[in-house]
């Protein structure tokens, strides 16, 4: 037991790498602050365009959403990161991450928002329009707020997935938590840094998992 502890949670190594891992955690946090709002905005745009009910546009939107839901996000990220320099455009890794995440997560968020918008009763739309609100104001003040509330559990759950997905940025050398942990492991020849990184994810994301479970069970109980 003692030996296992020395190997996997070595206190001396833990103390040495902890500040470095904290820095990685900070980067993960900032990265999430970048990609989550991007995905939310993209997804909302997809869903609002959908609700215009233009046949050809909707067909294009379905193609977009299904295409990027079928594409593994890591493949997308590497394709952007390694592909662009070949046509003479050097893009920083963070830019590749932002584009890749926008394309991938906006299709998932888009499907969620679409389900939400469809769940708002038609009467709400008509009532809003009949009070003289423009289409845009109706969307902004009446439909989208109710739609978001109706799909809140799915939105939270997808946001958790997006935060977990930021680990992919480690592959293109963005120094987020997993990347920091792997570097530290390579330097110390000891698995302690990656074990600590896993514990950090666990401690920080567990409360969100609990909240999602609560909301989902509540949704089942209501039916």
């Amino acid at each position: 037991m003692e030996a296992i502890f020395q190997q996997f949670l070595n206190p001396a190594i833990a103390a040495k790498v902890f500040p470095y891992l904290l820095q990685g955690l900070g980067t993960t946090f900032l990265l999430s602050l970048l990609v989550v709002p991007l995905g939310l905005a993209g997804g909302l745009a997809v869903a609002v365009l959908w609700s215009l009910r233009r046949r050809r546009l909707n067909w294009l939107l379905i193609c977009y959403v299904d295409f990027f839901r079928a594409f593994p996000p890591l493949v997308l990220l590497l394709f952007i990161y390694f592909g662009f320099p070949f046509i003479g455009i050097d893009i920083p890794a963070i830019f590749a991450v932002a584009i890749g995440f926008l394309l991938n997560t906006s299709s998932y968020y888009g499907e969620i928002f679409r389900a939400g918008i469809e769940s708002v009763p038609r009467g709400q739309w008509e009532a809003a329009r009949s009070t003289g609100l423009s289409w845009a104001r109706m969307m902004l003040h009446v439909v989208v707020p109710q739609a978001s509330r109706n799909v809140l559990p799915d939105l939270i759950s997808n946001t958790l997935e997006v935060v977990k997905l930021t680990t992919l940025a480690s592959v293109v050398a963005i120094p987020e938590l997993l990347n920091a942990a792997r570097n530290a492991q390579a330097l110390t020849y000891n698995p302690t840094p990656i074990v600590i990184a896993a514990l950090m994810y666990l401690v920080l994301l567990w409360p969100i998992v609990r909240v999602i479970s609560r909301l989902e069970h509540k949704a089942v109980a209501v039916r």
Binding site: P72, L78, T167
Partner: protein, 225 residues
């Protein structure tokens, strides 16, 4: 002219001809890994959800602990731990086994929660009626509760399974030569991104049918409101 260069760069026929066998080999590995993950992940999830329905406090607590942990941990983090940390404990494993085991554990956690939500959504009367006809608790679960519960779980389960099976691409991080891994090394060798394009096409060929299936299943098995 610009278009010519683009085609030459991203879809160079000569390079495609040279490297497509690598991509096909990767495709086979991805399919095997995906099928293995789906089989073990779903079986694990169903078994745990059934176990949970017997309401043994200590057992339930352990199941919830497992399901929570593997829903909170990023899949890539799990793969890295299994592949890079377990050898220190004298448990080295191949990239294939590490990826398969990680994704199965993650899928098992999500599947357990989905199956469980399905089981508890079945009205208590169904259980009581079955028991009152003389069925044992086990048979009630298998013949009465699960057939109804599983039907409700099909749409969320399909989507979750697709999302996690796409994670087979993460195996490339631990040097597994599945589609992405072989496409990436081929494009470094060739100094041209064409193999990556081929890899991307291979993924689309593999997953688009499932995404469309997921869409169909969603309308076919939708909750009756």
């Amino acid at each position: 002219m610009e278009l010519d260069r683009l085609v030459f760069t991203f879809f160079n026929l000569e390079i495609a001809r040279e490297y497509w066998p690598d991509i096909v080999k990767g495709f086979v590995i991805t399919v095997r890994l995906g099928l293995a993950t789906i089989a073990t992940g779903l079986a694990l999830g169903l078994a745990l959800a059934m176990l949970r329905s017997f309401q043994q406090r200590a057992v339930n607590w352990l199941i919830v602990l497992y399901a929570d942990a593997f829903r909170a941990l990023p899949p890539l983090m799990v793969i890295i731990i299994l592949f890079f940390a377990f050898p220190y404990a004298g448990l080295p494993m191949s990239a294939f086994v590490a990826t398969w085991l990680s994704l199965s554990l993650v899928l098992g956690a999500f599947a357990e929660e989905i199956f469980w939500a399905g089981i508890i959504s079945i009205p208590k009367g169904q259980y009581e009626a079955a028991r009152s006809t003389g069925m044992s608790a086990g048979w009630t679960l298998v013949y009465v509760i699960l057939p109804q519960a599983v039907r409700l779980t099909i749409p969320p389960l399909t989507n979750r399974t697709i999302a996690i099976t796409k994670g087979t691409a993460l195996g490339s991080v631990v040097a597994l030569a599945e589609i992405l891994g072989s496409a990436h090394s081929a494009s470094s060798l060739a100094g041209n991104p064409t193999p990556l394009t081929l890899g991307a096409i291979a993924y689309l060929v593999l997953f688009i049918p499932f995404v469309i299936l997921g869409r169909w299943v969603e309308t076919r098995f939708a909750w009756k409101r």
